[in-house]
Symmetry: C2
Subunit: 119 residues, 2 copies
DNA sequence: TTGACATATTCCATTGTGAGAATATAATCC
DNA sequence: GGATTATATTCTCACAATGGAATATGTCAA
């Protein structure tokens, strides 16, 4: 599959407005730009520009219909972020930390890692 | 508890170098700055500056010992991101999508949503 | 065609961000 | 004290990003 190039997804969602747009696109199906303009309360050119960034990052996809362009959330594009943050989930999730400790103990047959005492 | 103010965690991890720093801090315990300088191959002032951003975002914490400052990953700070992205997990996870579809079908007693055909 | 509508793009001014060099602070050692 | 080590801060510069206004592009309708 032709990876359509995803220039820094992290930077794309760093902008609060763009996160708003993503949220507005979730749940509902393809929405025209004007819908989003109404949803996020931002001038139309701004919305178009933010959508362009999201599109280039692979987070949304467009589809022309008549004079309007319907934007759809492409959640797959968010996956790298989820994956990256997920690497650290075990550091705050006590349950996961325990599971991990046990797994490592069984694997290496060594004493469990000290649970990194909370301050 | 005094929420220590977390100015845009999203912006903090938008920088690749800072993500490198976070990764370098994970797993190992508190590490002095020079360790990190060696790890990420960046001039020391740059590292200090990035660490400052991470600190203000609540992603790392510092602890003085002698002349050095030991930085520790504060994974809790990443939680907002995980939570935000997690909201959209169901849109790419087929299994979760099915669960959701069934739940909605049962709730509204209506035909299941068409799985949004890929282009 | 003309006109209205939906959206994108360009231009400009402002602000923010990161790199790099130099310097400052603070703790330790002699 | 002075020298050395560890880290932070300041400064400047180049550049990217953002908002706003204006304008361009494309599509439908009459």
């Amino acid at each position: 599959m032709p990876r359509p190039a995803a220039p820094d997804v992290f930077a794309a969602i760093a902008e609060p407005r763009r996160r708003d747009l993503v949220a507005a696109l979730a749940g509902a199906g393809p929405r025209p730009v004007n819908d989003l303009v109404a949803a996020v309360r931002l001038p139309q050119p701004a919305v178009s520009k933010h959508l362009a960034v999201l599109r280039e990052a692979g987070i949304v996809s467009v589809q022309r219909r008549g004079r309007q362009r319907l934007y759809t959330l492409n959640a797959e594009g968010l996956r790298p972020i989820h994956a990256w943050v997920g690497r650290f989930e075990r550091f705050w999730d006590r349950h996961l930390a325990r599971i991990r400790a046990r797994a490592e103990r069984q694997a290496h047959h060594q004493p469990p890692t000290r649970p990194a005492k909370e301050k």
